[in-house]
């Protein structure tokens, strides 16, 4: 499942400056693992030591916050777009 992923500015040092990358994954959890395989170090930024997505990281599948979907188990399909966005913003 080719899924396009938007990478926020604070993580682009790890993606060689790329703001948009494509990975194959079936859900958000495997997507994070695939990102790690392609861009080592990225998972440690997104997840804490126990593998949980950090509280200050928001992940969206097709514009919806995965906390309103199935969290890390949220499925992703061919052509879906995923955004990783720092939670600290606004207000």
């Amino acid at each position: 499942m080719a899924v396009s992923v938007r990478i926020p500015a604070p993580l682009r040092k790890l993606t060689g400056g790329l703001g948009d990358v494509t990975v194959d994954a079936g859900n958000v959890a495997t997507l994070v693992d695939k990102l790690e395989a392609a861009y080592p170090g990225l998972k440690a930024r997104l997840c804490d030591d126990s593998g949980q997505i950090r509280p200050f990281v928001n992940i969206y599948v097709n514009d919806e916050d995965i906390r309103f979907l199935k969290g890390p188990d949220t499925p992703v399909n061919d052509g879906d777009s995923v955004s990783i966005v720092p939670a600290i913003a606004g207000g």
Partner: protein, 422 residues
């Protein structure tokens, strides 16, 4: 102006950053905060030095994160601290005060504080364009200050905003982007745009500086109370940033010896239809579950509050309470403040007053406690919320008979003296 900013520091992991336009830690995504040189500031800051400053929030410039002199919003702040005797009598409080930012200059909300700081800082960085994600008041203030500063301006607002807040942007002629979605959608969109465009998003990449402007509400309160911290504050919460920064302002004044150490109980107020922080407090959680907002208090309608975690921490540390009120209670709160004190607040003010009332009824305050309620925006901007809940004008023809057709008052024919005599 002497150096006062050492840099930025991650509030979570302590990583240090240069004082640039960055807002989150590269390592843990935690929020970056301004790291001040308090030792140097303490050597020159005193009550006297503050009083010698301008009658605006810039009298506290030593504790605001700009390197040089402010260049925009020079008249912001120093709004009245009103002793609310009538409302206090109703609630059983002898020392109830209303910090009245409905009359802040120039756009009638507390957002003028954060924006004057953010845009002064953005100009120091060299930005030519400013932007924001807003529930309304912030966009108004960014639009006005961008006009004053002659900067390009893009403001992003949810499509369902009140008419007064939309017009309150357009009059300054910025580019207004009306986004199909709620504030959280707008905020996410702006976070992504901020990664791509060389703009100063005041509440995204410039957020560490912007948020510091809210401390001035605490500084002014302490000074206006005669250099002391209140016993209680009641603060409306959207992202929770204002609430945490009022605490920070009081802590800084205490640390620097401007006021004596005095515990202030920090109480937070939300609308029931968007109460992720208050709900977490009620359920004893230390984390916030995002919600989809549904309330007339659109200025507080942030379902995914950035500072929710820190707001919960602040409440716990200060023995504060958090309350929430329904839409009818918000309207009632707006009317109560207007009828008692002659102050017309927007919906967020209704949330504050409604929550204040509930806290008073629950016995949170002693009758002689100094309680400060923060009224952060002006009711003329959210007329939709109260339009159907106020009386109507009495229509009469333009002659005495027309008047007396509707009113036959016993005062007729009496002099003022006779009336006073009964």
């Amino acid at each position: 102006m002497k150096a006062k900013i050492k840099g930025l520091k991650c509030r979570e992991c302590g990583s240090d950053y240069k004082a640039e336009a960055v807002h989150v830690c590269e390592f843990c995504f935690g929020p970056l905060e301004v790291d001040y040189d308090y030792e140097a500031i303490g050597k020159r800051l005193s009550r006297k030095s503050i009083q010698a400053g301008p009658p605006s929030l810039w009298r506290y410039a030593d504790l605001l994160p700009i390197d040089g002199e402010p260049t925009v919003g020079l008249n912001v702040g120093m709004t009245p601290l009103v002793h609310a005797k009538n409302l206090g009598r109703k609630l059983g409080l002898n020392h109830l005060y209303v910090k009245n930012d409905t009359v802040n200059h120039p756009t009638l909300s507390f957002k003028d504080r954060v924006v004057s700081v953010a845009i002064s800082r953005a100009r120091e960085f060299g930005y030519q364009t400013v932007a924001c994600a807003s529930t309304g008041n912030l966009a108004n203030s960014v639009s006005a200050h961008a006009a004053e500063a002659g900067l390009g301006c893009y403001v992003f607002i949810p499509a369902d905003l009140e008419a007064g807040k939309v017009l309150g942007n357009l009059i300054y002629n910025p580019t207004v982007l009306s986004v199909k979605g709620n504030y959280d959608d707008v905020n996410r969109l702006c976070s992504e745009i901020a990664s791509e465009y060389p703009w100063a998003f005041v509440n995204i990449n410039v957020r560490p500086y912007y948020a510091e402007g809210s401390k001035t509400l605490a500084f002014e309160t302490a000074e206006q109370l005669g250099w002391r911290a209140p016993d209680h504050v009641v603060v409306p919460m959207a992202s929770g940033s204002l609430y945490t920064k009022i605490k920070k302002g009081l802590a800084e004044f205490t640390r620097l010896g401007i006021i004596d150490n005095h515990p202030t109980r920090m109480h937070g107020a939300q609308a029931t239809g968007c109460s992720p922080i208050a709900m977490a407090f009620e359920e004893g959680r230390n984390f916030v579950r995002p919600v989809k907002p549904d309330t007339i208090a659109k200025s507080l309608a942030i379902g995914n509050p950035a500072d929710g975690f820190y707001a919960l921490k602040t409440a716990a540390e200060s023995d504060g309470r958090m309350g929430h009120v329904s839409d009818p209670e918000i309207v009632e709160g707006i009317k109560l403040l207007a009828e008692c004190e002659g102050i017309f607040a927007e919906t967020a003010g209704g949330v504050t007053i409604g929550t204040l009332k509930k806290l008073a009824a629950a016995g949170t305050f002693h009758k002689d406690d100094v309680v400060v309620a923060y009224i952060t925006g002006n009711g003329l901007k959210t007329q939709e919320a109260v339009r159907d809940h106020v009386g109507k004008p009495v229509e009469i023809s333009a002659n005495l008979a027309g008047f007396e057709e509707k009113f036959k008052l016993e005062d007729k024919g009496r002099t003022l003296q006779e009336r006073a005599a009964g």
